[in-house]
């Protein structure tokens, strides 16, 4: 195994995820990113909620918290407020982040606390048997939508931008090298960084939607993602079923929450303890 993976992973592999699951690809992209940044694993906190993707913290050799469903961000906010010197990474899934933890998500976006959120979007609740999530595209099938979902899906990155997130990017598991760069850029940004990753669930999503083979799913993701620069030259019809990838928002002027808090303590009581 690559030295970067050995360095940041616990010795408990193989992992629990199904064959062809995108979570492992995101996990290795993350490991390459933190290795290239030279981050100390003893100074990193990994936080996750509940779901397939949230199992990631069980495999990372950091200070890790596997918390309540949808509540990864509140736990991470607490950790970061207590130890602003530590690097916090939050791993979440599409259901965990946009449904159960949807409210926490938008408020973390506006609060702009310095941490990196990686949302692995596989369009489905995989662990519980394939129910549709708020990110299941309109018309796609799930166990709870056997004739196709009639719910319109969120555009998670637009939601994050609307809620005031200061760094928003979208990557995917096919463009794995770019994903590593996006995670690095998200970490380097001072403030709340949201990175949505378009990922594959061949078992719970692919099998019901005509793409059960992991290799075909990879090809599907390749064909349904467009770089931001290329997307600017395309029409709305051409972009209808495509995901735009790249850095979508970066604001450096927004006040960072830990700094605002320290300034507040300084102002009213002469400094934090």
């Amino acid at each position: 195994m690559k030295p970067a993976y050995q360095k940041y992973f616990r010795d408990n592999l193989p992992h629990i995820w199904c064959a062809g699951c995108g979570n492992g690809i995101v996990m290795s992209a993350w490991a390459r990113a933190v290795d290239e940044l030279g981050l100390d694993k003893n100074n990193m906190i990994g936080v996750s909620g509940i779901g397939c993707s949230s199992r990631i913290t069980g495999y990372l050799d950091l200070h890790t918290l596997h918390t309540a469903h949808g509540r990864a961000l509140p736990f991470a906010t607490g950790a970061k407020m207590a130890r602003p010197d530590m690097d916090v990474f939050v791993f979440s899934g599409d259901g965990d982040c946009s449904a159960i933890g949807g409210n926490h998500f938008i408020h973390a976006c506006r609060r702009n606390i310095n941490m990196t959120l990686i949302v692995i979007n596989n369009n489905i609740y995989g662990m519980t048997g394939g129910q549709f999530s708020p990110l299941t595209p309109f018309g796609k099938k799930a166990t709870t939508a056997p004739y196709g979902s009639i719910d319109r899906s969120f555009n998670l990155c637009d939601l994050a931008i609307g809620a005031g997130a200061s760094f928003v990017a979208r990557g995917d598991i096919f463009h794995a090298k770019q994903l590593t760069d996006l995670i690095k850029a998200g970490y380097q940004h001072k403030g709340f960084s949201v990175i949505e990753v378009i990922a594959a669930c061949p078992i719970s999503y692919g099998r019901r939607n005509g793409i059960p083979n992991p290799a075909d799913m990879m090809q599907y993701i390749k064909e349904h993602t467009v770089m931001k620069a290329a997307a600017e030259k395309m029409s709305a019809e051409e972009l209808a079923d495509k995901h735009i990838i790249g850095v979508l928002q970066e604001i450096n002027e927004a006040p960072e929450y830990c700094e605002s808090y320290a300034a507040l303590c300084e102002r009213v009581q002469g400094g934090t303890k």
Binding site: M1, G22, S28, A176, P214, A215
Partner: protein
């Protein structure tokens, strides 16, 4: 300049036979065993694009450049 050569390894214990490396390899380096797992059959064909390594969900493929002989 001499052509670079690479050593490709698959950790069979971790492989879940998803077939992603086999399908993405541009040089057909891999075959699939009877159980579907990837086996390195033609390592001399490898051009070191590391697509297999980047896309393996189970961290079991590694491509290493060989020292020049």
């Amino acid at each position: 300049m001499a052509k670079k050569s690479f050593d490709v390894q698959v950790i069979a214990k971790l492989c879940k036979a998803c077939g992603i490396c086999v399908s993405l390899c541009p040089k057909n380096v891999f075959d699939r065993a009877a159980d579907g797992k990837a086996v390195v059959s033609r390592p001399e064909e490898c051009i070191g694009c590391v697509s297999c390594e980047l896309h393996c969900p189970d961290f079991c493929v590694e491509v290493m450049e060989k020292e020049a002989e």
